[in-house]
Symmetry: C2
Subunit: 162 residues, 2 copies
């Protein structure tokens, strides 16, 4: 798509994160299966449910713009997920693999945090308060998911891996 102004850029970024969220819903079940610690599997499962809700919110934002939900290939999330998957396959020790998976999941969270942060700010500028509200709700969830992973890593998994 041609990007000529902030509205176009907003729509482009929306498609980028829509693609990313869909990729994440495919990657998470593999991570849940590979997780050794039950707490990690549970945290990833609950984030998978949350991600499905985030996809729906994005679909609502597309609707508010009068557009059909559509993804646009996002090399960033592909790279982030690729790195995580490589390590997941390569590491045999379960505790070390869990530590690597938490780091990978946090890299995903941070990608989402930066994109949703930008989208909220652009939605406000473009005077799309309903879109801003939906995107803010997701941004909050991503921050919480990242904090939960930090706590999990610091309290248990990293200690096992050390």
């Amino acid at each position: 798509m041609k990007v000529e102004n902030l509205s176009d850029l907003f729509l482009h970024t929306l498609k980028d994160i829509y693609f990313a969220e869909k990729e994440i819903t495919k990657a998470l079940p593999k991570m849940i299966k590979a997780a050794d610690a039950k707490e990690l599997a549970r945290a990833l499962e609950s984030h998978l449910e949350e991600t499905k809700g985030q996809v729906e919110r994005l679909e609502e934002v597309f609707k508010l713009l009068g557009k059909k939900p559509q993804g646009e290939k996002c090399p960033a999330i592909e790279g982030i997920l690729e790195e995580g998957e490589e390590l997941m396959k390569e590491i045999k020790d379960p505790d070390t693999r869990d530590a690597a998976m938490i780091a990978a999941a946090q890299a995903v969270e941070h990608y989402e945090i930066t994109r949703y942060g930008t989208l909220v700010s652009w939605a406000e500028l473009l005077e799309l308060p309903d879109a801003a509200k939906l995107l803010s709700a997701t941004l909050k969830e991503e921050h919480n998911a990242d904090s939960k992973l930090t706590k999990l890593a610091e309290s248990k998994l990293n200690k096992q891996a050390a």
Copy 2:
């Protein structure tokens, strides 16, 4: 490299971010050249200088581990930078391009924040306090760089682009 324990994972992630920082030092001059707003060019210039210092800090951490500084291909940063460069080339309107570049630079910052956050926590677990100190200093700089970009975007550039 084979990753069998947390020490290996720490070294692997160190090589990943070393590669990423080197790629960032190559990408930033192109962004500085493409920036329309002087404030954005200045912010990116100052971050380029900071990044060079971060590369040196990483070299010190390698030294502390008795290892030669070495990068390892990082598909995540490649994807993040690729997305930013595509938009930079494609967008003709200078204000919209500046807004896209700030978003791209923030995606880079967030990648660094997540990796350094993980590395600091692992350095502490591995009882490498000097490494943790060096990595924390960079983490702090990345957080500041991200905040500066948010302020820049909100105070000026997004308004021009809207």
